[in-house]
Symmetry: C2
């Protein structure tokens, strides 16, 4: 078999953990597999580097930040190769230039376009364990770009696709995908199997276990993903073309605290206005999440949308610069909100579920600021400092009901 | 003018120093020069990384160490570009792959073979200040190699050659080249001009201001070097095709503490033995420094040579493995020695100089373990814990005499 393994920063935060991860790699190699390993930067290194860059220049260039951040994964892969050598195994580290990982031009948030795996295949032919930097790629200017937070998952899947790997194992500090983040909600249950679409909803909701794009890619090329812990031998969660999905009303509850909301008040109610607005944001590489449009007063409408907090200032700026063209009345924004979401294939067909969620929130006396629903999920915005209480209440309500069946 | 500037680790050890170096760069840029900057890793980062690697695997692979170390300079160049942007100047960082710096295959100690400066020239055409990682290059396997301690100087000169630069400025934490290391001997005097050969002798003696290979390259292509401080505007030392060298008996005194000595006792006295010995070491990429051959007993000879301490174990190993072939009696080694050297164009023609050196050492009651002389230098080995006292005594003797003239 050809196995791709990916280890996140929390699995590499110190030398002991590095040797721990090395043991997982060796186990796979000893079972006569070819093994390719993708690594993140260790521990909090990426955050530390961003802080350092901010101190030098608060408005750092995105290109230079990517150059700077790339050193995190480079250090990880070199240390891991040294650790594997120490344990008596052949290994070689490759950076994104050497591994042939190419991406779109946009710094800080590039998208992998292709992997040219010649060097990786050569090293595998020499029986090497191949250790590759995640999170980074080369763009058409031959510059280093990074793939956005969690991007190493996508590196792993893209490499698995290019190598036609049998499985892509994502090692992290939790045992798998849970019905909610067990660090927030201790009563959360592990899911043993889940299909790509459900996982996509879960990760788009801010369940930080997997990078969204990695699941999309895995779905497109039908790569089997396994999410499991680097600290034990528990089975983890299989994400794949799963036929027999467990029957639960709600597969997961997710909390995302990196949320800001912008409301555009009094937008002229004429055809194409929404298209103009979001194509403007898209041209500026601003990703929005939830979008709600409500009827405004006197032939106008109000549009609210959420986005990651780091894009708030830039987005407000863009909107202000384009007021001539968008002709809205005024802007409002709030970055003290958080998003609580539930996801499950039964949601659309069972109106009770939404009701049960709102009931749990109401019983806690928490105010809901925004609601968005789809076929298989419901997301609400609440105050950030109330979101954990809200999540626990919602989770308890669903687990209680499922257990009582 | 096209100016190449190089800043060493001590000039980049914290954010304040980075902005300080940025100001030197801006001064050159504002004077209508094109500016290319080569940076080392900041402060003690290289040493810290080597320590970390040793903790993971004491016998780390040289290839992986180079991959690991390369992150030091990469961080420097990204931060410097951010600092220059902060001050309002256009700048772009390039790593060795982007800058097109190619070297021989040997990890940890590669030699630059060529620079393909297309990208550098493109960025200069866009009026960018171009910031390039020193110390690192690409080898024929497309792997990262490093150039040995101090290698960033050579990066700077090699790039200056490729760009046909008008001058290559080496910024460091001292004001220029001194008659002795002013950190060791406070009475040392700054040299305002020196020619390449004298500088070569000085730097091969362990005067750590400039990487030896950088001076060789500068001499070969007649690149004007200026060594000066990043902390003040003092004039520094010009190293070039200097006609009017200052008339002093001794240009410099240097101390090198990274010295081990190996003696091969009882080598058969037959033709070709010395060639066999040193070609064996050369094939194994071991650089030796001083070599002394003395007459042994009963048709044998003894050979002693010095080398950097990190190569001692490996070299002893190689010699032991090849005893069948070399047929010596036994080996001796010592890594508690240090080298004290004096250099000056007057040495060969004035036998008094050696005498004065030995007299100063004798007056201090210090034992000389080995002596080697050339046209323009005298080197001696003494116990490491006596070398500073020896250096001060020798320096005082020469300065006193020169002042009394």
């Amino acid at each position: 078999m050809l196995i791709v393994q990916k280890f996140g920063g929390s699995s590499l935060a110190n030398d002991k953990l590095i040797f721990n991860a090395a043991q997982k790699i060796i186990n796979a190699y000893n079972n006569k597999n070819k093994v390719v390993v993708i690594l993140s930067a260790s521990g909090n290194m990426t955050d530390d580097l961003i802080n350092h860059a901010s101190k030098i220049n608060f408005n750092y260039s995105k290109r230079e930040l990517d150059m700077f951040l790339s050193t995190g994964e480079t250090q990880s892969v070199a240390l891991m190769a040294m650790a594997l050598h120490k344990l008596g195994y052949p290994a070689v580290s490759l950076n994104c230039m050497q591994a042939g990982i190419f991406a779109t031009n946009n710094y800080n948030n590039a998208r992998i376009e292709k992997v040219e795996p010649e060097r990786i295949l050569n090293e595998l032919d020499k029986n090497n364990i191949v250790i590759i930097t995640g999170f980074q790629a080369i763009n058409s200017y031959n510059d280093i770009v990074t793939l956005g937070r969690g991007g190493s998952d996508t590196s792993a899947v893209a490499i698995a696709v290019a190598l036609n790997a049998d499985v892509c194992e994502i090692y992290t500090d939790v045992d798998g995908i849970y019905t909610a983040d067990p660090r927030i909600i201790p009563s959360a249950k592990k899911i043993s199997q889940i299909n790509y679409d459900q996982m996509l909803e879960l990760s788009s909701l801010g369940a930080v276990v997997l990078h969204n794009r990695s699941v999309e890619l895995a779905k497109k090329y039908n790569i089997k993903l396994v999410v499991r812990s680097s600290l034990n031998d528990n089975e983890g969660t299989l994400i794949g073309d799963v036929k027999k999905v467990e029957k639960t009303l709600v597969n997961g509850i997710a909390v995302d605290k990196n949320v800001a909301v912008i409301s555009i008040v009094g937008l002229e109610d004429e055809p194409g206005m929404v298209f103009k607005l979001f194509s403007l944001l898209s041209r500026n590489k601003i990703s929005v999440d939830l979008i709600i449009q409500s009827i405004g007063r006197q032939n106008t409408k109000d549009i609210s949308f959420t986005l990651a907090r780091e894009f708030l200032d830039e987005t407000l700026n863009i909107l202000e610069r384009n007021n001539d063209f968008l002709r809205y009345d005024h802007l409002m924004s709030d970055e003290t909100v958080a998003k609580l979401s539930i996801v499950g294939s039964g949601i659309a067909s069972n109106p009770k579920i939404a009701m049960m969620m709102f009931e749990a929130i109401y019983n806690e006396g928490i105010n809901i600021k925004m609601i968005s629903t789809s076929e298989i999920k419901i997301s609400i915005l609440v105050n950030e400092d109330e979101v954990q209480r809200a999540a626990e209440a919602v989770h308890k309500n669903f687990i209680d009901i499922q257990n009582s069946k």
